[in-house]
C-alpha cells in the first residue's frame, strides 16, 4: 500500500510540470498581452494612454521577453521562493489576493455541499423507498427542473424577485458596513444572512443530481436478498434501510469526494459573477480576460494541484475499498 502511494505521488511531479507549461502557454495564447488588454479597456472608457507608457509597462512586467524566459522567471520564483509574483491588474502580490478570497470560497462551497447532502440524501432515500408515490413524483419533478435550470439563471430570477419585491440588490457576501470591519458576531450573522441565497442557488443543481443518483442507487439495493433477510429477522423498516442498503448506496458518493476539491475553488463562476460574490471564480475569469498572467497562472496551477490531489484521494479510497485495485 505504501509503495502504491509513493508511486502515485511521484507520478504527480511530471504531471504538475506539464500542467504548468500548458497552463502558462494557454494563458498567453490569446492575441496581445496584459498591456494590450489594459489599453483596450481604457480606450473603451474613453481614457487614453500614450505608447511610451505602454512600452514602459511592458518592460516593467517583463512582457517584452520571450515566452520561455517569462515562464522560467515565473516558475523558478514559485519553486525556489514560493513567490507567485504580482497581479498586473490589481498591482498586489498574487498570494495576498488568493488567500483573501480562498477562505470565503471554501466557506461558501462547503456550506453548499453540506446543504446539498442534508437535503438530497433524505429526499433521495424517501423517493426510492416510496417509489411512484405522490412525494416521489414531486421530488422527481423538482429535481428534473433543478437539473435543467442553470444556476446563474436561478440567481438572476431570485435577484429580480428581490429587487421587485423588496427593492434590494442581493449581491455580495457582506452589507456595506461590515465589508472591511474586523470579525465580530454581528459580522458573522451578516455573512450568514448573505449566504442563504448563494447557497440555495449553488446547491440547487447538486441537490437535483444527488436525489436522482441516490434514488437509482438505492433502488438497485432495495430488492437484494440481504434486505429481505434483514426484514425477515424483524428489523424495523427505517432502521433496516438506513443500516444496510443506504450504506451500500453511498459508495459512489464516497469515491467522488476527491473530485469536489477543485470544484470547491472553481465551481459556479458564472453564478458568483452574477451574485457579485468575492470568491475565486470571478477573479480567475477576470484574470484570464485581462491576461493577468501570474494571477491566472497561479489559480490554474492551484486548481490542477487540487485535481491531482483529489484524484489521488479517490484512488486511495478505492484502493482501500477494493483490494484488487492495489495490485494493478
Amino acid at each position: 500500500m505504501l509503495h502504491y502511494v509513493i508511486k502515485r505521488v511521484l507520478y504527480m511531479i511530471p504531471t504538475m510540470i506539464a500542467i504548468s507549461i500548458v497552463a502558462f502557454l494557454l494563458i498567453q495564447l490569446p492575441p496581445g498581452d496584459f498591456v494590450t488588454s489594459l489599453a483596450a479597456q481604457m480606450s473603451a472608457q474613453g481614457d487614453s494612454v500614450d505608447p511610451t507608457t505602454l512600452a514602459m509597462l511592458r518592460r516593467q512586467y517583463g512582457l517584452d521577453q520571450p515566452i520561455w524566459v517569462q515562464y522560467w522567471i515565473w516558475i523558478s520564483n514559485i519553486v525556489f521562493h514560493g513567490d507567485f509574483g504580482r497581479s498586473f491588474d490589481f498591482d498586489v502580490p498574487v498570494s495576498d489576493l488568493l488567500w483573501a478570497r480562498l477562505g470565503l470560497t471554501f466557506v461558501l462551497a462547503f456550506t453548499a455541499l453540506v446543504f446539498t447532502w442534508l437535503v438530497a440524501l433524505p429526499v433521495g432515500i424517501y423517493s426510492a423507498v416510496r417509489k411512484y408515490s405522490v412525494g416521489d413524483y414531486v421530488a422527481t419533478f423538482l429535481s428534473f427542473v433543478g437539473l435543467a435550470v442553470p444556476n446563474f439563471l436561478l440567481a438572476l430570477v431570485l435577484m429580480y424577485i428581490a429587487l421587485q419585491l423588496f427593492g434590494v440588490s442581493i449581491d455580495g457576501l457582506y452589507s456595506a458596513q461590515y465589508a472591511n470591519a474586523p470579525w465580530s458576531w454581528e459580522k458573522f450573522l451578516d455573512l450568514a444572512q448573505h449566504l442563504v441565497v448563494p447557497v440555495i442557488v449553488l446547491a440547487s443543481s447538486g441537490i437535483a443530481a444527488l436525489v436522482r443518483i441516490m434514488r437509482a442507487n438505492l433502488l438497485d439495493e432495495l430488492f437484494k436478498p440481504y434486505v429481505t433477510t434483514a426484514r425477515a429477522k424483524g428489523l424495523s423498516e427505517w432502521r433496516l434501510i438506513a443500516k444496510y442498503p443506504v450504506r451500500a448506496a453511498l459508495n459512489p458518493f464516497v469515491s467522488t469526494i476527491g473530485w469536489t476539491l477543485p470544484e470547491l475553488v472553481s465551481g459556479a463562476t458564472v453564478t458568483a459573477i452574477v451574485l457579485n460574490l468575492p470568491t475565486t471564480g470571478p477573479l480567475l475569469l477576470r484574470a484570464l480576460i485581462a491576461q493577468d498572467v501570474y494571477l491566472a497562472g497561479a489559480m490554474i496551477l492551484m486548481l490542477s494541484v487540487l485535481t491531482v490531489i483529489g484524484t489521488l484521494i479517490s484512488d486511495l479510497l478505492l484502493a482501500w475499498l477494493d483490494p484488487r485495485i492495489r495490485y494493478r
Partner: protein, 643 residues
C-alpha cells in the same frame, strides 16, 4: 448638518478692511467627523491645517451639508480612470467647470512671459499633504531632479515637459512656494496640458518627498530588502507602487479623499476612502471641503451587477461602465424606485460611429485602394446615413461626417457635411474611377482582379456598431462593394491595430468638442495612439517610435499630413491663443480636404446617474477624457442632502 456660523463671526465685524478675510476665517466650518478629532487633540485646528489662501470653490447650487458616503463602483482591477476622474483631479492647473479656460488649482497663481517660454508657479503658503507635512516647491524639485531627470525612472522625457527637440524642460526652485519651468521654445499649450487628467501631465505634484525618499537609492542605502519584500524587480517598481495612492494607503496625497482600504487590497472586492483633514479647498463661506465624508468603491466583475445595484438605489453617482445607450431604457424606468435621476452629458465624440480604412495596410493593393480619396468619397455617397440614424439611433442626432460639433470655434462646415448626401449614381461614378471591373455577381473586383471583400472590425462589446454596419453593408452592396462586419474582442482589435493589420474599423470617442479638438487631434491627422486605427505607420512616424520595438514600422506620411504635423508643431509653440485657433483651423481645413475618415451622425446627449439627494451636480457637463468628466465640476463640493 449645516456648518454652524459661530459667535466668532460677530467679533469679526470690527475691522472693515480685513472683514473679507476675517469672515473667511471666522465662519470656517469643518466636518463633524473632524471636529471630534480636533477637540480630542488628535488633529490641529482647521486654521492650522489649510493654507492661508485656500482655493475657494463656488458651489453649483448652494453651500452643502457635511457627511455621508458616496457609493460607486469600479470594474476589475485596472479601472483607475474612475478614481482619476472623481477623486484625484488635483493638478497645478484645472479646467473651469464650463471648459472655457484654464485656471490655477494647486498653483495659487502662474505667470507666463510674453513668448510663453517661462512659467513661474506660486504655490499656496501653508498647504499640506494629507499627513500634515508641508507641500512645497521642494516636492516638485524632488520629482524633477530625482525622478523626471533620473534615466532609470524616466528613460525618455515626454510631453508636456519637453522642448520641441525632445530635450527636457529646465526647472528652477526659487523659494519654498515658487518655482519656474523654462522651455527652449514657446510652449503655448503647456498650461492646458497641465489641466488634463493624463498621468504624465500631473506627475509633477504626485510625489511627496518626505515619504518617498526612503524608497529612492539616492537617499536610502538599504532599499534592496524593501524591493524584495514588495516583490518588485527594481527601485523604480518599488517607488512607483509606493507612490500609487489608490493601492498604498500610506502615501500622503493632496486629494479630497484618501484611501483607507486600497484598491486591490484584501479580497479585492471593495476600496474605501475618507476625507483628507488637510484638504486645501473651501467653499464660498470658508467651510473646508469636501462635503462628503467617505467614499466606497465596489469592485465588480460584471457591469450588469452595477445596473442592479443602481436600480436598487445603492449607487450615488456614476456614469462610467453604467450609463450606456443600451442601459438607458431600464435605468430610466427604474428612476423612481431607485431614487435616482439622470444628468446630461454633452458628447465630445465627433460622431456616433467613425468608419476608418487602414491607410497603411500591409497589402499594397489594399493600401493603394484605401488611400485613394475617390474610393472613400464613393463609399460615403453610397451610405444612407438618415436610414442608419433612424433605425439604429432612433433618429436622435444629426447626419454628419467625423467632425467638430457645431458651436465650437473649430467648427468646419466642409469637414462636417461633405459627401453626406445619399446618391447611388454619384457613388458609382466615383467608384468606377477606382474599381471599374466587376465580377460575375456584379460585385466590384480589386485592381488585381481578385474579389474584394472588406472586413470591417468593431468591438464585440459595442453591438450597436454591428447593427449600423450591417445596414451599411447592405447599402454598399447596391454599389457593388462587399463589406463584412466583423465583431472582434476589444483586445484583439487593439492587437491588430498595433500591428497595422486592420482593414476597416469602426470606433468613436475623442476630439469632437471643446479643447479636445486641439489636445486630442486623433482624427484630424496621424497624431496619437488612437490614430493607429487609420494610419498606424504615419502615426508611428510622427510619434517617433523606436522601429526595433514597434510592431508597425514608421513610414513617412504624404505631403498633406506632414504639413498638418508642421502646423501642429507651430500651434504647440505659439503663445497666442488666437493664433492657436487659426493654426488648428488650418489643420482642420487640410483634414477636410483629405477626408481621412467618414462618419454617420453627430451624437445626441448622453447621461449619467445620480441619487435625487446627491446635490451640487451641474445639470449638464461635457463627456470627455481631456475634460476628465466629472472632475472639473468639483466633486469635492457634491453633497448628500441630510434627510
Amino acid at each position: 448638518m449645516k456648518p454652524v456660523l459661530g459667535a466668532r463671526l460677530r467679533a469679526c465685524v470690527l475691522a472693515s478692511v480685513a472683514s473679507f478675510i476675517c469672515t473667511m476665517a471666522a465662519s470656517a466650518g469643518e466636518s463633524p467627523m473632524l471636529e471630534a478629532l480636533v477637540s480630542s487633540g488628535d488633529l490641529p485646528p482647521l486654521a492650522e491645517r489649510i493654507p492661508a489662501s485656500p482655493l475657494v470653490v463656488t458651489p453649483v447650487d448652494r453651500v452643502g451639508d457635511y457627511g455621508g458616503n458616496w457609493h460607486s463602483a469600479l470594474m476589475g482591477g485596472s479601472d483607475d480612470g474612475w478614481i482619476l476622474r472623481t477623486l484625484s483631479y488635483e493638478n497645478l492647473m484645472r479646467w473651469s467647470p464650463d471648459w472655457t479656460e484654464v485656471i490655477p488649482n494647486i498653483a495659487e497663481s502662474v505667470e507666463v512671459n510674453d513668448d510663453a517660454t517661462e512659467f513661474t508657479f506660486k504655490l499656496r503658503e501653508g498647504m499640506r499633504w494629507s499627513d500634515g507635512a508641508p507641500f512645497t516647491a521642494d516636492d516638485i524639485r524632488f520629482w524633477y531632479e530625482d525622478l523626471f531627470r533620473n534615466p532609470q525612472f524616466t528613460p525618455s522625457a515626454q510631453e508636456p515637459f519637453i522642448n520641441t527637440d525632445g530635450s527636457p524642460v529646465a526647472f528652477e526652485m526659487i523659494d519654498e512656494v515658487t518655482f519656474k519651468f523654462t522651455f527652449a521654445n514657446p510652449k503655448g499649450l503647456f498650461l492646458q496640458y497641465l489641466a488634463t487628467a493624463r498621468p504624465l501631465d500631473n506627475a509633477a505634484v504626485r510625489y511627496p518627498r518626505h515619504y518617498l525618499e526612503q524608497f529612492h537609492p539616492d537617499y536610502s542605502d538599504d532599499i534592496d530588502a524593501e524591493i524584495s519584500a514588495a516583490g518588485q524587480a527594481d527601485w523604480v517598481g518599488l517607488l512607483t507602487s509606493k507612490a500609487n495612492f489608490w493601492a498604498n494607503p500610506d502615501v500622503p496625497t493632496i486629494n479630497p479623499w484618501v484611501f483607507t482600504t486600497g484598491y486591490g487590497s484584501g479580497d479585492a472586492s471593495r476600496a474605501n476612502a475618507e476625507r483628507n483633514p488637510y484638504y486645501w479647498k473651501v467653499d464660498t463661506e470658508g467651510n473646508q471641503l469636501p462635503y462628503i465624508d467617505t467614499r466606497t468603491f465596489d469592485i465588480l466583475s460584471d457591469p450588469q451587477v452595477l445596473v442592479t445595484k443602481t436600480l436598487a438605489g445603492e449607487i450615488d453617482f456614476q456614469d462610467r461602465s453604467l450609463a450606456t445607450p443600451a442601459n438607458r431604457p431600464v435605468l430610466f424606468e427604474g428612476r423612481e424606485r431607485g431614487g435616482y435621476e439622470f444628468f446630461e452629458q454633452t458628447p465630445a465624440s465627433p460622431n456616433y460611429m467613425i468608419m476608418m480604412f487602414n491607410l497603411n495596410h500591409r497589402d499594397p493593393v489594399l493600401e493603394e485602394l484605401f488611400q485613394n480619396k475617390d474610393f472613400r468619397i464613393g463609399l460615403s455617397h453610397g451610405m444612407d446615413r438618415q436610414e442608419i440614424l433612424d433605425v439604429v439611433w432612433i433618429g436622435q442626432g444629426e447626419v454628419a461626417q467625423t467632425s467638430v460639433m457645431p458651436g465650437s470655434v473649430y467648427y468646419n462646415e466642409q469637414l462636417a457635411k461633405q459627401y453626406t448626401e445619399y446618391d447611388v449614381d454619384l457613388a458609382n461614378e466615383y467608384l468606377d474611377k477606382v474599381l471599374p471591373e466587376r465580377g460575375g455577381d456584379g460585385m466590384r473586383l480589386r485592381p488585381d482582379g481578385q474579389p474584394l471583400a472588406i472586413s470591417f472590425a468593431y468591438s464585440a462589446a459595442v453591438p450597436i456598431f454591428g447593427d449600423a454596419l450591417e445596414l451599411v453593408a447592405a447599402q454598399w452592396e447596391k454599389i457593388g462593394i462587399r463589406m463584412v462586419p466583423t465583431p472582434l474582442d476589444r483586445t484583439l482589435i487593439q492587437t491588430r491595430q498595433d500591428a497595422g493589420e486592420l482593414e476597416g474599423v469602426a470606433w468613436e470617442r475623442g476630439g469632437g468638442a471643446g479643447q479636445e479638438v486641439v489636445l486630442d487631434p486623433r482624427w484630424w491627422f496621424p497624431s496619437n495612439n488612437d490614430s493607429y486605427y487609420w494610419a498606424p505607420a504615419w502615426t508611428a512616424w510622427f510619434l517617433d517610435v523606436n522601429p526595433e520595438t514597434a510592431q508597425v514600422q514608421p513610414e513617412e506620411p504624404p505631403e498633406a499630413a506632414r504639413r498638418q504635423m508642421e502646423l501642429y508643431g507651430e500651434l504647440q509653440a505659439s503663445p497666442d491663443p488666437e493664433e492657436q485657433v487659426r493654426l488648428m483651423n488650418e489643420i482642420l481645413d487640410i483634414a477636410a480636404e483629405e477626408f481621412w475618415t467618414m462618419g454617420v451622425a453627430w451624437q445626441a446627449n448622453g447621461y449619467g446617474v445620480k441619487k435625487t439627494n446627491f446635490l451640487n451636480v451641474p445639470a449638464s457637463m461635457p463627456a470627455s477624457w481631456i475634460y476628465p468628466t466629472p472632475a472639473p465640476t468639483n466633486p469635492e463640493q457634491y453633497f448628500i442632502e441630510a434627510q
